[in-house]
Symmetry: C2
Subunit: 383 residues, 2 copies
């Protein structure tokens, strides 16, 4: 159930002293081939961390042979020194593997504006390389944890091939920017172009729709590497379906581990004029602190849902909106319908359904509630 | 220091039993002329409350002779019955004053989806009318309070004329949607067209730049009425300046009264290519839960500031941004500069300055911090 489940990969994770906790903080995942096709998506934030600036160059040619990751420092806004540290780490990995640094993706997570100890990182790379093994995925997954309460991994089996992955990120409710790092491995034979198409399709409906607090990381990186070691070439639809299933599994693991959250909220917008409208509406609700506070207070406050819908440019009639919470239609035709008292928000899972009655498209966006005292101010009033 | 400070206005506030607390909940402000020019701005939310739908028709001709307001229920998403309640209230006021209901603005605040007791409202209107007096501004101001800890009023004196105002709203951190209601009175002679121009200019740089949690109300209404009782016609620039001063004073009162807040944060963006860019950057930072959480934790986390700037479309070079907190330039050229330890966030007032180095425009956006446990998750990490 790790990045080393697919054939053709080795990994390891070690403690290099970057984390004050003394826990594992450097991970290395190596693709032993025979193919080295890859695809990567990065954060859309215009303020990007040094590892992202470096890795954007690495992935340009569709070839990635290794990914080295560290927790204990995001190496973001650390200036030229910071970029040189990222470069040095890639060179160190390349030297050990006898490859070019330009084929080594680097990922970092932790505080912004904090320079990593270059020598400690390089020593960590040495140790991680020595320990590389075909069953080292678990150690690697543990080494990229920051505020994560559990390592996050997933595997999807194809016919004769598989996809494995590890992820870090405690939802966007996590301290700092909840840098989300994901390394995906597969032993299927998939070209870089097909990997790119599949990865963008998969992330568009999974990670891209996880929006715990609207804050966008400077370090987010999702890299997939194909070793081709199974010798099997799945159809692109089959591979895309498997990859989407894997990314959704990981996204739900991130959602469930979101710090300080009491509820996981799935917001589904129905009958939208376009999928974009459905996502805009869902994201607007997901970013309403007042709505999220109400959920924490177990208050089925559909008024806050409609108020969020009203801030969007989506097509709908403000006088004819329906809203359900946990399946109870508390609002129909923009007027009170079922008794909100019928909505039980005591469980962790919450669903919100908005019917725009403007088309046939739909989309689901996931978020968490806002918990504790700030929320108290917003949740105590109407309860 | 009230809406009855300017000549030509009477007001009163009474308890009509709409508030469970038994406090005052119905307010009436009447313009006795000789002029009845007015201007109003409403919430931009597409999901508007019944009083807003009604009042949009009332203000269309630039004439308003009275404003009746109630707390204890927003009368939003209450269907045709709710609209009929708003209409009945306007008719009741009109009947007492011998005017047309179409000259009566109605404002409501409280829970969305909650129908107001029509008879209680009408009885409240009767009592408020009986008590109307030229020094009833204070009672009116108290009757529109919801979670406000203090009534909010302001007066600006011109030469021979004055502007008075009352406002309710406990910042957008308040329960529900912190409906912001403002009634402004002046005895200056100002045409409806000039009032509209002055009001839009004043609110654009005051209320419109107060963004405590990004949630937009369904009921926000700001109405200005000119009685012309002073017989003096100020220049439009003079009147606009005074009105802007008044609205900014009220906006700061709302900011300071924001529920659950420990800090008032003024975010100033310098050297932007356009004022719109400056506002977009300020608003993005103001809406970052992580940044606001850090301020609560007294953590001068400029990384979260840059991460928010990076999510905007404003013109800037991500590699050359400067950030100061409370006057300390903690980041220059997008790299660490002064020791963040020099930033003292123990006081309530916090300033954040971002230099985009892209032009000559500037703007300030005001917000509050995110407090307590949710924030704890975000503020404890780097401290």
């Amino acid at each position: 159930m790790t990045v080393t489940t697919p054939q053709g990969f080795r990994a390891h994770g070690v403690a290099a002293g970057l984390k004050s906790s003394g826990g594992k903080d450097v991970a290395l995942v190596v693709n032993d081939g025979p193919t080295y096709d890859s695809a990567t998506v990065f954060t859309a934030n215009r303020c990007k961390a040094n590892p992202v600036l470096w890795s954007q160059q690495v992935v340009a040619d569709g070839t990635v042979r290794a990914v080295v990751l560290n927790s204990g420092g995001a190496n973001c806004y650390t200036g030229p020194e910071g970029f040189q540290t990222t470069h040095a780490v890639a060179e160190q990995v390349a030297g050990h593997l006898g490859i070019g640094a330009i084929d080594v993706v680097v990922c970092s997570t932790g505080l912004i504006g904090l320079a990593n100890d270059r020598q400690a990182l390089l020593d960590g790379v040495d140790a991680a390389h020595v320990g590389l093994s075909a069953d080292g995925g678990q150690q690697a997954a543990e080494a990229i944890m920051t505020t994560d309460s559990v390592p996050k991994q997933a595997v999807v089996e194809g016919s004769g091939w598989s996809i494995g992955a590890m992820a870090k990120g405690a939802g966007m409710l996590a301290p700092q920017l909840a840098t989300m790092l994901v390394v995906i491995t597969t032993d299927a034979v998939v070209s870089a172009a097909d990997l790119d198409q599949a990865l963008r399709a998969a992330t568009r409906v999974s990670f891209d729709r996880l929006d715990s607090d609207g804050c966008m990381s400077t370090n987010d990186t999702v890299t997939v590497m194909a070793s081709g070691a199974s010798g099997i070439t799945p159809s692109l639809p089959d591979f895309t379906d498997a990859l989407t299933q894997l990314c959704t599994d990981l996204a739900m693991q991130l959602l469930r581990d979101a710090e300080g959250s009491d509820h996981d909220i799935a917001i589904t917008t129905l009958n939208a004029a376009s999928e974009e409208d459905a996502v805009e509406v869902g994201r607007s609700i997901a970013r309403s602190n007042l709505f999220k506070a109400a959920v924490f207070g177990k208050d089925p406050n559909w008024g806050r849902v409609l108020a969020s819908v009203g801030t969007t440019q989506a097509a709908f009639d403000p006088a004819d909106l329906d809203v359900a919470m946990n399946g109870v239609w508390v609002c129909k035709g923009s007027t009170p319908h079922a008794d909100p008292g019928e909505v039980d928000l005591s469980g962790r899972e919450v669903t919100v359904t908005v019917d725009l009655k403007a088309g046939t498209e739909r989309a689901t966006v996931w978020t968490n509630d806002l918990t504790h005292a700030y929320v108290h101010e917003n949740s105590a009033y109407s309860s």
